[in-house]
């Protein structure tokens, strides 16, 4: 069988023909249904929170919303909120943000590119990697953010970005408590934050906000830590169960 050189396969023309051949079903009229859903949710919030069965996170969020609300826009007041939805390496604050949301940024905007060897030298612990079928998943890109004891190593993969640190603290601002879910990762408590408009930032080892790290995250986020004292953040388009499985694979 004669084979074309790979580069000669006219894949863009093929895609064009495939695109023209797709028979899309008629798009549904969604406006009335979306508005009905929104109104239903508003009604539930007005009438039914807290009720048995409402997640603990949502109940806590409702109770502390007023306290947390202004804090997201006023970094210096964060200390007063200490560890609302907290882990040793993470603070999750729930409430509206005043002023414009920070931009969506990829790691190359707020961290410096590094090699795996540089990243390994920059931290005092052994870097953790997700595993698949017994093999270490090597990241597509590696970044270092900050330095010294609060350095954060960022591994970028196709479906997720993995942050790890041993002294820094990950901060998250979530607009609604119903976005925050307590989960268990290898027996350790963690938090899953649904995708959609939450804010990520970073504190150094002294608890000072690193302003340039503030950014909006549209993907879901998983926050957890392990026994040895390392903190992790996974920003991902994976489903929650897949993200937890990935987190539990870290070695």
């Amino acid at each position: 069988m004669r084979e074309l050189a790979q580069d000669l396969i006219p894949v863009e023309a093929m895609l064009g023909r495939a695109a023209r051949a797709v028979a899309y079903p008629p798009a549904p009229a969604l406006a009335s249904r979306v508005l009905a859903r929104i109104e239903d949710e508003r009604s539930l919030q007005r009438v039914a929170l807290p009720v048995p069965g409402v997640r603990l996170a949502a109940a806590l969020a409702a109770a502390l919303l007023l306290a947390a609300g202004a804090a997201l826009a006023v970094p210096q007041s964060r200390d007063a909120l200490a560890d609302f939805f907290g882990l040793g390496h993470a603070k999750i604050e729930v409430g509206p943000v005043l002023g414009p949301a920070p931009p969506v940024l990829s790691p190359e905007s707020f961290a410096r590119p590094a090699t795996l060897a540089e990243a390994a030298r920059a931290v005092a612990y052994e870097l953790r990697f997700p595993m698949r079928d017994g093999d270490r998943l090597v990241p597509d890109e590696v970044y270092l953010q900050g330095g010294g004891e609060s350095a954060v190593v960022i591994f970028v993969y196709d479906d997720f970005d993995l942050y790890q640190t041993d002294r820094g603290i990950f901060g998250k601002g979530a607009p609604g408590g119903d976005q925050v879910h307590e989960v268990e990762i290898s027996g350790q408590r963690g938090y899953w934050i649904d995708e959609g408009g939450h804010i990520a930032y970073h504190f150094d080892a002294q608890g000072r906000l690193v302003v340039e790290t503030q950014r909006t995250v549209d993907r879901a986020t998983l926050l957890w830590e392990e026994h040895e004292g390392l903190g992790f953040r996974l920003e991902t388009s994976l489903a929650q169960a897949d993200a937890i499985a990935l987190a539990e694979s870290l070695r």
Binding site: E3, Q6, G16, A23, A31, E41, D218, S237
Partner: protein, 195 residues
């Protein structure tokens, strides 16, 4: 057409009709990108609807100076990818998806059976790419979304999105060469040999 920034601002202030305007303006694209990813009309409808609801929940945090459409596309594509990955859905609809691909989605509109077969295989090949790559391919080649919007939809700078799309096309060529070698032959030859 109303200036979209003004509509977004009104929606952020709680005007439901303004948000309904945004839904009507973008529902077709949201549904189509969801359909390309999940390949099931009912599921795509659910995903698109959920995408708008989540967008509304997050709207107060959305910077109205940014374009709404790529932000929405990002929410919808993430939901669609998650939906497709759900084991429940995969198990329940695998057979239906295959049937849809074979008999409804393409063959009904392509005049030439060989072209329909090529399209079906190319779509299947795209489905083997990584989720972010699929999203880029669908947005750029199937839905004619601009480079800038596609990059914003996956949350990457334009340069990064371009390099990832380039890599996706390279992988797509690999898949086609390995799985569908007859498609990799010169145009015309593949259709003579058929599927």
């Amino acid at each position: 057409m109303l200036d979209e920034t003004a509509v977004v601002l009104r929606a952020k202030q709680g005007d439901p009709e303004a948000f309904a305007t945004l839904v009507r303006r973008h529902e077709e694209l949201a549904f189509r990108v969801a359909y390309l990813i999940v390949r099931d009309a009912a599921e795509a409808e659910d995903v698109a609807q959920e995408g708008f609801v989540r967008a509304y929940r997050s709207l107060r945090r959305f910077d109205a100076r940014r374009p709404f459409r790529p932000w929405l596309l990002r929410i919808v594509t993430n939901l669609a990818i998650n939906s497709r990955r759900s084991a429940r859905r995969r198990d329940a609809t695998a057979e239906r998806v295959e049937r849809d691909i074979r008999h409804r989605s393409m063959a009904d509109v392509a005049d030439d059976a060989a072209q329909a077969e090529e399209a079906r295989r190319v779509w299947e090949a795209v489905a083997t790419l990584r989720p972010e790559e699929q999203t880029l391919v669908y947005l750029r080649y199937f839905l004619d979304v601009s480079e800038a919007e596609a990059a914003a939809a996956i949350g990457r700078p334009v340069g990064t999105a371009k390099s990832r799309l380039h890599r996706a096309l390279r992988r797509l060529r690999d898949v086609i060469q390995q799985r569908y070698p007859d498609l990799a032959r010169p145009v015309g030859e593949a259709t003579k040999t058929g599927a």
